[in-house]
Symmetry: C2
Subunit: 341 residues, 2 copies
DNA sequence: GCGCAAAATGTAAGCCGTTGCATTAAGTTA
DNA sequence: TAACTTAATGCAACGGCTTACATTTTGCGC
């Protein structure tokens, strides 16, 4: 049997404390406007009654919620975790609450979640990447809710962005791979449709290959959802092909973890028989064996900067300055010259 | 420059369609009450104006939001990811939206987040574990918002729970370890203060030790936050002690991953020189080498059942039936008899 | 002790939906 | 066609808070 005492309202507090609702409201929102002893008394009553402002009412009256929403593709792996954590810490320090929801990499669900978050009064939105339908852009525009795209830098995107250049980052890694003499590159990419990060990374590899003067068909790409098991399957597929690659570049560390697992199970030695690389440099990369060559992404810095940029959009209505972050290649044990040379 | 057209309201729609606000509201919420041609006209206007109901106003008027909140200790590792994903899927199928926030294992922040979510109108709450102050319990009671504790089953907890018995689960694993002949057990636990799961797991180990007739001081416990790096440090600490343990049991797979990493770096061979175990059986466990002996937790099932239980509390006001899920020990390469016997 | 500016507090008008109840339109039956 | 039932719609109160503006207190200089 749940309690029947109804939740106390501003009015209850005001009555009990013997002041007007306006004063109570001010005690909560701009305490400096209320004289010490009044404030103290009111806050006491607030505490005593266990009063919490009704959010809906507040949002309606004030038109802001001190809430930031984020829609990320997945919570299932750690790709976004660290950046999001930093993002949240920064927001919290400024009195904002972060609400997260995930889209399972489904544009339809993403749109739903965006609407849900905006409807719930989010003052600003953090989204991942730039691939999004016209509808969404229009909706955001119309609602006038500032939104920022992260994990991917795009000069001319529909949204201002804080992120890195996925294409160049992967290109740099591919150049290292090619410099070692690899000539047949297998690529395990995430699903590129609706995912600009994944697409750009593949492009980066092709850039490097072209830059090295190799033929396009040196590269074999397999697309699969980001997931360890899928990475393992894709690796097996690549290794069973007629022309085994000597290096397998993965779209992220999770896929690479799967590739390494499959290699171990197939008795393929990394890096002697085949090299494997990842992308993201999540903590996972360091505990694999061999440890994973990958691209380091400054997740925490990205989260922090994204928060700052979004805050400034929300608070000062600025149009949001984009920020391009640097990544760097992390050479580790999983990459070597072909044939163990 | 953002758009100035203000967001259309119910009133705008009503005016444009030439009906009352009540009729528009009914078109949206109980269409069967409105005659076909009126409904059609209204919905057309809704679409044309791009109208979205104001959530705050709706929540205030209707007193429900079709939103469920979850406060989890961390998003940084995958411990809660899979279960939460299943939880969300189940909710979504029933027309509910899930909003997640994280507490960084800080009770203070957890309380803040609970309030934030309830204030935002969450119809129900998913919390992790049972350690929570009196204040929180009272608050939840007073607000009359149903809440469910997951990841930990407790018959007599303040909240109904869907989860497993952390103590027995770990005890079962410890019994396997002891059966192999280990007599000095190192334990790397998460911080037990405010974390009943961590505490119960340590208790489970002690139960097993006592059950095997060994002295209490066979067990050395180190507490550290859940994190790969901390797991590594703790492992080093344990191995540098006078009486090296022959088996190190970790509070979860993440700590165990750190332990394995440290072992590799220290040149300690697992399982020959020392055995290592984890808890949770997250995907990580399968890609480590040696692969990790751990306790398998049915994450997806737990998420699904939690959603069902919470939904029934929210929708029918039932008091919430608790559910105890089964776990099982997963024996893998990281555990062997002491001294490689 | 008076007059006045500044500080503190109060008053009341929204904000945008939902819904109980009243009213009107439509449909049925004799 | 009158009388009456039922379906469709409208009216308006209400929910809890913020804030512009009005009013009362306080503090200070003379």
């Amino acid at each position: 049997m749940t309690s029947n005492r109804s939740v106390p309202t501003l009015y209850d507090v005001a009555k009990t404390a013997g002041v007007s609702t306006a004063t109570v409201s001010r005690c909560l929102n701009s305490p400096e406007q209320v004289v010490e002893h009044t404030r103290k008394r009111v806050l006491e009553v607030v505490h005593q009654l266990g009063y919490t402002p009704n959010f809906g009412a507040r949002a309606m009256a004030a038109k802001r919620t001190y809430t930031i929403g984020a829609v990320i593709p997945t919570m299932e792996n750690a790709i976004f975790a660290r950046g999001l954590q930093a993002f949240q810490e920064e927001l919290r320090a400024r009195g904002y609450t972060l609400l997260v929801s995930s889209s399972a990499y489904d544009p339809q669900i993403e749109e739903e979640q965006i609407r849900a978050l905006i409807a719930r009064g989010a003052d600003g939105l953090l989204l991942i990447g730039h691939d999004r339908t016209e509808t969404v852009a229009e909706y955001l525009e119309k609602q006038g809710t500032p939104a920022l795209a992260a994990w991917s830098f795009e000069e001319k995107g529909a949204l201002p962005s804080v992120g890195f250049d996925n294409r160049r980052a992967m290109q740099a890694l591919a150049e290292e791979v090619l410099a070692l003499g690899h000539q047949r590159i297998g690529v395990i990419s995430g699903i590129t449709s609706g995912n600009d990060r994944a697409r750009r990374r593949v492009e980066g590899i092709r850039d490097a290959v072209a830059g090295a003067g190799l033929a396009e068909n040196c590269v074999t790409v397999v697309e699969t959802p980001y997931d360890i098991a899928n990475g393992a399957d894709a690796f097996a597929t690549l290794m069973h092909a007629a022309d085994r690659p000597t290096a397998v570049m993965c779209g992220n560390d999770v896929l690479a973890a799967g590739a390494l697992k499959a290699a171990r199970e197939m008795g393929v030695c990394v890096p002697h028989d085949v090299s494997v690389t990842g992308f993201d440099d999540i903590e996972l990369a360091g505990i694999l064996s061999p440890s994973l060559t990958t691209v380091h992404v400054p997740h925490r810095e990205m989260g922090r900067k994204a928060a700052q940029a979004l805050m400034s959009m929300v608070q000062h209505g600025t149009s949001g300055k984009t920020a391009l972050l640097e990544t760097h290649v992390c050479l580790r044990g999983s990459l070597a010259a072909p044939g163990g040379l």
